[in-house]
């Protein structure tokens, strides 16, 4: 089942007429400013649009239709109420430059969101403005840089990053004009302390860590790591991608981190939307408070207002045209209020329970764990190095075969240091049965491969398309439909 392009359904002169305003008088704009060609937007009826995009939607896997155990992405249930309430006309219709007097309901919610995020992270201040995790990282590293610069400590331009880190970490360091120094991971998934000690020095701006780390285990010597970095004059950055694993149990602020970004679209369940919008709110310790990105919501007695340049003169500045992904923040606010104080802790507990259960069941079924001596956090890694060799069943093949079994694939080939790896994160909102069925599918795929090695090279078999030619996609670029 595939769907023709919307352009192929277009007929010159067709129109969804209820959607255009009445014909306007001719433009008063001089001819030399006007375009002479006609852009190829499709000319289709309203029913055609509805049918086209409804059918396209059905070609997707999604949380609402499938178990989606994607490591490092926290694909938990997105409560519907969050969306409904964020789209209430009073919120959805509010102009970003409208006066604070017509936005107290919104601003109060944002202020309370800042307070709740401070509480769960143990930080001293929160700015909601970054529009995704990577922008939160950028804000964080920029604040670290600004801190050193403000102290006249201008030589600190190195950011230390573990080799297993998310790609956004080194990419962000570069964007902030820093250089990257990679740190090896030891056999049990911890940071190599000797290497860290050797790495820090007068050039150290800071270190970027995820804890639990990207290999799915908690960095046990985090306090020692913090001391080494702080003693060397650097600051600690917490990548919040895995915050779900420790919510309400441990706080990055207590571990010694100076700055954190939170992926609200992971931990606080705002929708992933097929690739965004996210939200990368940042939290800071005392040292970085003056440098937070603008705007931030402040409170004067019973009223709320945006803090601007005059309020935070040392701010690293603005990262968005207005004030970040406000509607995403509203969804996160609603989610946090529905989960509540006790629910926060349960998120970490049940996410961890599910991950450890799934890890135990897969281990018992014969799969090889990347870090067998460790507790799983909310995710864990298995390696198919053996199966790739003996059964011609690579991590990629397993991923595609799982699609045929009605499961979205786990994250594959990340982190890069584990060969043929699957990074599996079940989240707290999946039931035991769902996990059991997933294990059954993994087992049966291996059984099939035993009977017919290499069989899954051609998987998936039941999707709208078969396996796609990525090499061709990159070599013979076809990035936009062209009218014949």
């Amino acid at each position: 089942m595939t769907e023709a392009l919307i352009f192929e359904k277009s007929r010159s002169g067709r129109r969804a007429y209820a959607q255009a305003p009445s014909n306007a008088a001719a433009s008063s704009i001089p001819q030399n400013f006007l375009r002479t060609d006609q852009p190829c937007l499709p000319e289709v009826s309203e029913l055609q649009v509805v049918r086209h995009f409804t059918r396209l939607s059905q070609l997707n896997f999604s949380i609402d239709t499938h178990f989606y155990p994607l490591g490092s992405c926290t694909m938990k249930y997105n409560p519907r109420a969050c969306n409904t309430l964020a789209l209430l006309p009073g919120f959805a219709g509010r102009h970003p430059l409208g006066p604070d007097s017509h936005g107290q309901g919104f601003l109060e919610s944002m202020y309370e969101l800042q307070e709740m995020l401070k509480a769960v992270t143990g930080m001293q201040g929160v700015s909601l403005t970054p529009m995704a995790g990577a922008q939160g990282e950028l804000a964080g590293v920029a604040m670290i840089r600004a801190y050193h610069m403000a102290r006249g400590d201008t030589g600190r331009t190195e950011i230390i990053v573990p080799d297993a880190a998310h790609g956004t970490n080194p990419a962000t360091a570069t964007m902030c004009g820093c250089t990257v120094r990679e740190l090896p991971t030891d056999a049990d998934g911890d940071i190599d302390i000797a290497a860290l000690t050797a790495a820090v020095g007068p050039k150290t701006a800071g270190i970027m860590l995820t804890n639990p780390s990207t290999v799915g285990v908690f960095e046990r010597r985090i306090m020692q790591v913090a001391k080494i970095v702080h003693d060397a004059g650097g600051l600690l950055y917490y990548d919040g991608a895995n915050l779900n694993a420790i919510l309400g149990k441990v706080r990055p602020g207590d571990m010694g981190f100076d700055v954190i970004h939170m992926n609200l679209h992971k931990t606080f369940s705002t929708p992933h939307g097929g690739g965004g919008p996210g939200s990368g709110a940042v939290g800071v310790g005392k040292r970085l408070l003056p440098f937070m990105p603008l705007p931030v919501v402040g409170r004067d007695g019973d009223s709320y207002r945006w803090l601007r340049e005059a309020d935070l003169p040392q701010s690293i500045g603005r990262l968005s045209g207005f004030m970040g992904n406000a509607g995403v923040l509203l969804r996160a606010y609603v989610y946090m209020r529905m989960v509540g104080r006790d629910g926060m802790r349960r998120i970490a507990e049940f996410a961890t329970l599910n991950a450890n259960y799934l890890q135990a069941r897969l281990r018992d079924a014969g799969f090889r764990l990347a870090f067998p001596k460790r507790r799983a956090s909310h995710e864990f890694i298995i390696t198919l190095k053996g199966e790739a060799k003996s059964l011609q069943l690579t991590a990629m093949d397993m991923a595609k075969a799982l699609l045929d079994h009605g499961f979205h694939a786990p994250t594959t080939y990340f982190p890069l240091l584990v060969p043929e790896c699957l990074l599996i994160e079940p989240t707290e909102t999946e039931s035991q049965e769902a996990l059991d069925r997933f294990v059954d599918a993994m087992i049966s795929i291996v059984e099939e491969a035993r009977l017919e090695p290499g069989k899954h090279k051609n998987a998936p078999f039941t999707m709208p398309v078969r396996r796609l030619d990525d090499v061709k996609a990159a070599r013979q670029l076809d990035l936009a439909w062209q009218q014949d």
């Binding site: 129109r15 704009i29 790609g167 939307g273 919008p277 603005r318 509540g340 890890q359 039931s431 999707m463």
Partner: protein, 453 residues
């Protein structure tokens, strides 16, 4: 336990399989001194009923005033279809389409979006979106620096009509890599860049940014500036309003060679105002620059059977592959907004989008006619406008806006803060959503407040 399905029996079974006694045991690798007992600062849980009541009250408190503010975010009618379809679970709760075979819905939608953006801008390729218009300009500036290796400058020259907030954002994001931003002077009579200043320019900038229509709603002399920039060896970055592109010259048609990069704020294409986000930035570029583009790009290819299908492509540019050498650190972008915009553009088509543009322009003219009929209110810039314009008021702007807000009218954007040289200047906007009665209500209220003082 909201959203957690586990029963007590299941928890016991699962712990047994793991070989643990209690859930707390699963956290035994965490240093004890770090574990916390209670989360002060997070209130007790509310049921959906309770939070619904609370948020309805808050949304009602914010009301639905009559809005004449533009300044980068525009109120347009959003057809019901757009968000009905966009919020279908299969779009809403899907992840970035890394598993292409299970994500053809999202991928084809993005491919169609890219096709629409390239057609509107006239350029070769579009990416799958950036965060918003302002950050898109920052990325465009960085991209220009990467692309324009012959030119060692890191100075970016902005036309006078570039949104000042965009400049601030570009400085915050790209400043750490040594980029600097200068602004051409404003020609006071026309509200566009003073071209005489071009001859005074010294070192060639690495890129020139031209916003069309300008922040003041005026129309910039795009051909002249584009040609000048290219003559200097600078790349041209167009910052454009997508609605206006149904009417105005496409960036690829600017000057002799066309702009090299176009970017802008996608919000007018079916995205609610929503206090400033989530919106999305779009970006398109000429063929030679495509491998320097930041963000995700979808390509059409074939599957094992030779059938067409869609996949993320040119991933070697991206952070998850290239890490510290990536074109940008962007990962998550604004996918759902792109879905909404694609549906919006499909519903409107070229003709419908043009009608929105024409009607908005006409409504703004009708508003200006009414407001400038009030004693002491004048139009600041001569020449054509799109759907925004600057008025000079006989009094300070802020107190007047407060009075209008008390009437339920948001009268515009106060320029006197950012542009004190313009005096009591107010930026007003009327889109196709405004009726004659709305315009009359504004004029009547403004007239009354001015007369009363």
């Amino acid at each position: 336990m909201p959203f957690i399905p586990h029963t007590d029996d299941e928890v016991q079974q699962m712990l047994q399989t793991i070989g643990a006694n209690r859930i707390a045991d699963l956290f035994d690798e965490i240093p004890k001194e770090l574990l916390i007992d209670d989360l002060r600062g997070v209130p007790d849980a509310l049921s959906e009923m309770e939070i619904t009541r609370l948020m309805r009250e808050r949304a009602a408190r914010d009301g639905s005033p009559l809005c004449f503010i533009g300044a980068g975010a525009y109120e347009h009618h959003i057809p019901s279809v757009v968000w009905d379809i966009t919020t279908r679970g299969e779009f809403y709760s899907a992840y970035t389409p890394y598993q292409a075979e299970a994500s053809q819905g999202t991928l084809q939608t993005i491919y169609e979006f890219q096709s629409m953006i390239t057609s509107l801008t006239g350029l070769y390729a579009s990416n799958a979106s950036l965060y918003d218009g302002a950050s898109a300009l920052a990325e465009a500036a960085l991209m220009a620096v990467r692309s324009n290796r012959r030119n060692k400058s890191r100075r970016v020259l902005l036309a006078s009509g570039v949104n000042r907030t965009y400049r601030k954002v570009a400085e915050a994001i790209a400043g750490s890599q040594g980029l600097t931003f200068d602004e051409l002077p404003l020609e006071q009579a026309t509200g566009v860049s003073d071209l005489n200043a071009l001859s005074a320019e010294g070192d060639a900038p690495v890129a020139v940014v031209i916003q069309q229509p300008t922040f003041f709603g005026t129309l910039e002399r795009i051909d002249e500036i584009t040609n000048w920039a290219h003559a200097q060896g600078a790349l041209v970055i167009a910052v454009v309003n997508p609605t206006s592109l149904s009417l105005l010259k496409a960036p690829a048609q600017w000057g002799e060679q066309g702009a090299d990069i176009a970017c802008g704020e996608g919000q007018p294409l079916g995205v609610p105002l929503s206090s400033g986000g989530p919106y999305f930035g779009f970006m398109a570029c000429a063929e030679k620059l495509v491998r320097q583009m930041p963000g995700r790009i979808v390509g059409r290819t074939t599957d094992l059977d030779g059938k067409p299908g869609f996949t993320l492509t040119l991933q070697a540019r991206e952070q998850h592959i290239r890490r510290s050498k990536a074109t940008s650190n962007i990962c998550t972008n604004q996918g759902l907004m792109v879905t909404a915009a694609t549906i919006y553009m499909s519903l409107l088509g070229h003709g419908g989008l043009q009608q929105v543009a024409l009607r908005s322009e006409e409504r703004t003219r009708a508003l200006l006619q009414r407001l400038t009929a009030i004693d002491g209110v004048t139009l600041v810039f001569s020449g054509a406008h799109f759907h925004e314009a600057v008025l000079q008021l006989p009094q300070a702007v802020a107190p007047l806006l407060d009075k209008l807000a008390a009437d339920g009218i948001l009268g515009g954007y106060d320029l006197s803060v950012e542009y004190p040289e313009l005096g009591n200047a107010l930026l007003v906007c009327a889109t196709e959503t405004k009726t004659d009665a709305d315009l009359d209500a504004y004029a009547t209220a403004l007239g009354r407040h001015l007369a009363n003082d």
